[in-house]
């Protein structure tokens, strides 16, 4: 007499988990994401290489055309080629995304590390400051900056950068605090290493590691914030074809021409997703969970 107790449901859950792990470690997704990112970077640096039409050329004979072989992603109300316009807007969108995230993380790092390391009243003051900023919605902070300084690309970068920084700053502070309390920091102290050495050898690398992913996630997020502001008419002004501005411009025609909304939206989504996939891959590499190829 032999019997086995195995629940089929668990077996299934196990398989699902394995597929997910495979997706995380399988590099095909990473290759696709890299291809997209490469495309967007070429578009940002040398848009003419990828454009099929002049993004600003009006063609009043063919307004609001659906995607076709002549116009891959259709045309807008003035007959401008949407694909070429999206390519043309990539540079601005990307610089907003990268710039805003870099600014946001720089501010967050300086304030968060200061708060986490110093403790005492400095930590208290900074933490309350983060709390106050955090209590205000990011969009509100961004709106504030835009209304104060006008609508240019650099304003958008500063607005989105400052607006998203309190969340990161709090994360950095907690990371620093938790690394500061670890046994290896104490072990380094017992060895007699200087505080500076402990900071650069242990605290910063271990506290910043998880932020690498946050950075890549943040780029996509920042582009979405900037697009949101442009959509509200507070971003880069037409005829610029920043992705958010495209969304804003297509809003009036969405009933007749769905592609004016969908296509820039897909561009934003693809970019954000690609950056995220690469970010996660990089983080896994950093944590040594994937062997180097």
């Amino acid at each position: 007499m032999t019997y086995a107790t195995t629940s089929a449901g668990n077996e299934k859950a196990f398989v699902t988990a394995r597929v997910l792990t495979a997706a995380r470690t399988f590099p095909v997704l990473v290759y696709i994401a890299t291809a997209f990112i490469a495309f967007f970077f070429i578009a940002a640096v040398e848009q003419k290489l990828l454009q099929t039409h002049d993004p600003l050329a009006l063609d009043l004979m063919s307004p609001l055309q659906a995607p076709s072989r002549a116009h891959w992603l259709g045309t807008d109300q003035s007959g401008r080629d949407l694909y070429s316009r999206i390519v043309a807007g990539t540079g601005q969108s990307l610089s907003i995304g990268l710039g805003a995230t870099a600014l946001s993380l720089t501010v967050a790092l300086i304030l968060g590390v200061t708060a986490g390391l110093s403790g005492g009243w400095i930590d208290n003051v900074l933490s309350r400051f983060f709390d106050v900023l955090f209590a205000l919605p990011t969009l509100f902070l961004a709106l504030l900056f835009v209304s104060l300084f006008g609508t240019t690309v650099s304003t958008l970068i500063v607005a989105v950068g400052i607006g998203t920084s309190p969340g990161y700053a709090r994360m950095v502070r907690v990371q620093v605090l938790s690394v500061k309390a670890t046994g290896y920091v104490e072990a380094a102290k017992v060895l007699g290493h200087s505080p500076q050495r402990i900071l650069f050898n242990h605290i910063l690398p271990n506290a910043i590691g998880p932020l690498a992913t946050m950075f890549t996630l943040g780029i996509g997020q920042a582009i979405i914030w900037a697009s949101g502001l442009s959509f509200l008419g507070l971003g880069v002004a037409p005829p610029s074809s920043e992705w958010g501005a495209l969304l804003n411009a297509g809003r009036n025609y969405v009933i007749y021409a769905w592609w004016l909304e969908i296509m820039p939206g897909i561009a934003i989504a693809i970019f954000a997703l690609s950056v995220t996939v690469i970010g996660q891959y990089v983080q896994q590499r950093l944590e040594g969970r994937i062997d180097l190829p």
Binding site: T2, Y3, A4, T6, S7, V190, L191, N201, H202
Partner: protein, 577 residues
Amino acid sequence: MNVTYSAALFRQNATHLPVSDPLLTVENLDVSFGPAHARRAVVKGVSFTVEEGRCIAIVGESGSGKSVTARTLVGLTGPRSHVQADRLTFQGMDIGRLGDKKWRALRGKRIGFVLQDALVSLDPLRPIGKEIGETLLAHRAIRTRAELTERVLDLLKLVGVPEPAVKARQLPHELSGGQRQRALIATAIALDPALLVADEPTTALDVTIQAQILNLLSETRERGKAMILISHNLAVVSQMADDVIVMRHGEIVERGSSEQIFGDPRHEYTKCLLKAIPSVRSRGKRLSSSSAPRFISAEGENIKGLTQSDIARPGRPLLEAERLVKRFRGPDGRLRTVVNDVSFSLGYGETLGIVGESGSGKTTVARMALALEIPDEGEVTFEGAPWTSATEKERCLRRSSISVIYQDPLSSFDPRWTIERIVDDALTKRDGGSSLDRASRQSEVSELLDLVGLSPAFRTRRPLELSGGQRQRVAIARALAPRPKIIVCDEPVSALDVSIQAQILDLLGDLKSHLGVSYLFISHDLGVVHHLSDRVLVMNHGDAVEAGGADDVFLQPRQPYTRRLVAAVPRFHFQAA
């Protein structure tokens, strides 16, 4: 192959069985985990029987499958497990194919289960009285509320919880560790089960509390209940069990009566386990079968360059602690004195053991010796110069002379660093260590790893990839790298299996005799401290209770507390020849 082996053992054993059916029969039990393509066998072909009123102990080190075997008997092996057995019967009932519902009816009522850590096993938001009552209600053993209260109080009284009426309304975290464990045992015996399965019931407890819990379990046994006791502590087992099963890597390596296993062990592994236990008798002897590392090369040259016999040894002690007092603010805002007026000194090449139960302040003393905590009163002087009263900047220059080994080495390593970098980082703190070039530092690292018994292949590994014993070896290599005069060892072997513990203790002993380092050795385990220490300091609730030579303190304790502590250490009932 193992199946036939253990089946044969079973049959051989079975011939001695009485005619009546045993309470529990396990025949050829296999337990494995994981999906079909990557199944990992954890228990392989285990067979045994439990008679009414007998106590069977299953002993083994971590990974031996003893806990999984116990959990099989209460149907709690978890969702990813595959349980297979030729026979698995309890009171004549086939428990191998029970569904969840049937298990719930059986568990608690006819088979009680006691786990290691009561704080984890008890619902943190439920008063313990309710927790015990739950078991009674779940099996509909009680009808009225008054009857329930009465029964719960009876049970708490039975397991020896003081003031049962008060304690019944308290939450688990409000009770002491011993009381919690008692409450947990009360839930297990609430319905008077015929079989009690106790998985490491005393492992998380202090030695005096452990003695009380063992008494309680013995009383339960005397009421005629059968018991399966899972433990890694052989002394505990020798006090309780009628029969002992020794497991290793999921298989039974030896079985027999308590007298036979502890008095005349036959299997090599059992002998090793017994020999590995540090105690009075093991002083000055090696515990493991590993040989001492090479300290001197064939040419008689001191190859490690670590020997400190040439160090001038002035009459003054190396480290002196003068009337240390440390207070911490508790969660209620009140100051608690954690260390109260403790003085000690540590000479060159000497080992001072500090023993005490949890909360005795021994770790705080260690941290003050390392100047990680600054005493509120009193002072530590190191090599005749102020230590705790110096500024951190001054201390930084001298810190490399005092190293530390923690209980949990894993958390003391930067997880991103390789072993080489960890040891190398400590090497830079040696006098002139940072001026060494890359190649000579690399060879130093290899030598240090060799010294602690690790091959150079470990250099590129990361802490997470090592076993507990290997990690502790790396920790020792790191502690040795700056050529310290003192190594503070805070429970360095408490998290290790007894055979690994034996190797690490041997290593520490070898290093002491060859390198002349001093140890400040903190442990709750009296046997470990006695094995290694020259002098001993006994602490209780922040006070230094007794101090003196290790043999004096442990063999002729003068203070009542020390006497109680020594008496509470479980001893072997059957001394090996």
